[in-house]
């Protein structure tokens, strides 16, 4: 395997509280992300997962440690302004609150905001905006005001705004947590499509374990540490450890874990319904 796309090495970060004391948020965090991967970062509120997102595109800078993106050390002092903007163009971010990230009162103008900042030619912006809106299924709302849209629709507009900057990786910082189930489904579908069809690397931060089931890899963060980093099946088979740090597992996994306590022989890496039904059916054999 070639060099990883994103390399995070021993990163530490702390906030200052009111008394000017350091409150550590991330402690020696290290991981790698390959190009085209779909990685879910799980962790409960306050585990430091959102801070991590802001470090990746230089909204925050780590206290120590190194972050390398495609061979470029973004934590070095010698980063020029142009390099900073190029990192932000390549690593897009979608945030939690759909209302607080839309700039314009017309959907298509909002999608154009990023490319406009990058100084892209007008005709090219037009093309990108139309393409991005089609990508997330919002073409018919191009001339609407965000105020007329539902949360899920606003969030898809926000995603279009990032796609129009032609990023290689998008970080979704709890982008689904304020949405209703149908909005969440639409947004998840859009995210998965971007990953599968356009090969965009996705880092999806959430505390909803159902959204982690289909990921290529799950990184679990707890109290500022990376405490698991593996395929979903392997991560979710640690039911007791996840419970300990306050995270859920899919209900199927939970059921099988509980049944095993009764001495029933079942595989421990089941995370979806079909596998679960198969495994349970074999008991009835």
């Amino acid at each position: 395997m070639s060099e990883a796309f994103i390399k995070v090495e021993n990163v530490c970060f702390s906030y200052k509280d009111d008394n000017d004391e350091d409150i550590p948020v991330l402690k020696n965090v290290s991981f790698e992300i390959q190009k085209g991967e779909f990685v879910v970062v799980l962790g409960h509120n306050g585990s430091g997962k959102s801070t991590l997102a802001k470090l990746l595109n230089m909204i925050l800078a780590p206290a120590s440690g190194k972050i390398v993106i495609d061979g470029l050390d973004i934590t070095s002092d010698q980063m020029t302004d142009d390099e900073v903007y190029s990192v932000r163009q390549r690593i897009g971010m979608v945030f939690q609150n759909p209302d607080n990230q839309l700039v314009s009162s017309v959907v298509e103008e909002d999608v154009a905001f990023g490319p406009e900042n990058l100084g892209v030619e007008p005709e090219e912006i037009r093309k990108r905006v139309d393409g991005a809106l089609a990508e997330v299924g919002m073409t018919e709302f191009a001339r609407h005001s965000p105020a007329q849209l539902s949360g899920g629709q606003k969030q898809r507009v926000a995603i279009a705004g990032i796609i129009a900057m032609l990023p290689e990786c998008i970080v979704f910082d709890e982008a689904t947590s304020m949405l209703d189930p149908s909005g969440r489904k639409d947004v998840m579908r859009a995210i998965e499509k971007l990953n599968k069809e356009k090969g965009i690397t996705v880092i999806h931060i959430t505390h909803n374990m159902n959204e982690a089931v289909n990921a290529d890899r799950v990184i679990v963060i707890n109290e500022g540490h990376v405490c698991m980093n593996n395929k979903p099946k392997a991560v979710f088979s640690n039911v007791s450890k996840l419970h300990q740090i306050g995270l859920d597992v899919p209900q199927v996994t939970e059921l099988i874990y509980e049944l095993k306590k009764y001495g029933i022989t079942l595989p421990s890496d089941i995370i979806d319904i079909d596998e679960g039904a198969e495994a349970l059916a074999s008991l009835f054999g």
Binding site: H207, L247, V252, L255, Y262, I273, D274, A277, L280, F284
Partner: protein, 288 residues
């Protein structure tokens, strides 16, 4: 224990304009007192309108809302007193905090009720207890708390009014599993100890299955289903039909039945699933 009944209630937004929209259409419903009722339905089904009607934030276009047999709009000037009896916790209630200290914020409702000082203090500490807010937080600024803590202070602020009916709109939205458990568990303890009628609006079927005794399903401005939680989730097909989801575990058992296994229909929590599986295996004299 308070009774809340809706008779032929309709609500129309922007009546008489081109934007007219019927949010509730001739709704007749009675909320069972002394239990936790879950109100479900997808966005736009009329849930939020219903909730705002129940405590007099909206006035029905047609029909009457009866609280303990009395029309809440009989004397419109007195609607504030209805709001004390039917407490409403809105979505993301942490954004309504404004006082200098947690104590004062929880006391805002009771103070508006013009209660005695001692009574207010008593209520504040009771409500705080149910919401898991310990004394050390009382003199802190609510703005210095974490998201989940703020949410609990806001809920305590409504509980402190000791309403006969407590309505909560998505009380656990956006919280992680621990935060959800803290809030919903607190509400359940509060309900069990005080006998208050509680109505919870939520999108999370998993939570509803665990915490609610009764379920009301809204669809297209009307009541679609009402009944015991186990009875409602036993009819998963009907729920899926109107675009609602059922807990994953219910899906699993549905799948197993379709594979010809003899497992029950009304499985909707992990606990009931464990019991049902063990029982089914026992019947088969199955693999232990």
């Amino acid at each position: 224990m308070a009774e809340l009944t809706l008779k032929d209630v309709s609500y129309i937004y922007s009546a008489g304009t081109p934007f007219e929209k019927k949010a509730l259409d001739n709704v007749n419903i009675s909320f069972k007192s002394g239990v936790i009722t879950g109100l479900i339905g997808h966005t736009g089904s009329g849930k939020s309108t219903l909730v705002q009607l129940l405590n007099g934030l909206l006035e029905p276009t047609e029909g009457t809302i009866l609280l303990d047999g009395e029309d809440i709009w009989k004397n419109p000037k007195d609607i504030t007193s209805v709001r004390f009896k039917v407490g409403l916790v809105m979505q993301y209630p942490e954004y309504q905090l404004f006082e200098e200290t947690v104590r004062k914020d929880i006391a805002y409702g009771p103070t508006n009720m013009k209660l005695e000082k001692e009574e207010i203090e008593k209520r504040v500490s009771e409500a705080a207890f149910f919401c898991g807010i310990t004394d050390e937080y009382f003199d802190k600024s609510p703005f210095d708390l974490s998201g989940g803590q703020k949410r609990r202070v806001a809920i305590a602020g409504v509980m402190a009014m000791k309403p006969g009916i407590l309505i909560l709109d998505e009380p656990a939205a956006g919280l992680d599993p621990i935060g959800r458990e803290e809030i919903l568990g607190g509400i359940r303890t509060f309900q069990r100890q005080t006998g208050t009628t509680v109505i919870i609006v939520s999108h999370s079927m998993e939570d509803m299955a665990v915490y609610c005794d009764e379920i009301v399903v809204m669809n297209k401005a009307s009541v679609y289903m009402q009944g015991k939680t186990s009875d409602i989730f036993a009819q998963s097909d009907k729920l899926i039909e109107v675009g609602l989801d059922v807990p994953q575990i219910t899906h699993l058992f549905k799948k197993m039945r379709s594979m010809g296994l003899n497992v029950p229909e009304n499985v909707f929590t992990v606990d009931s699933a464990i019991k049902a599986t063990l029982l089914a295996l026992e019947k088969r004299g199955g693999a232990r």
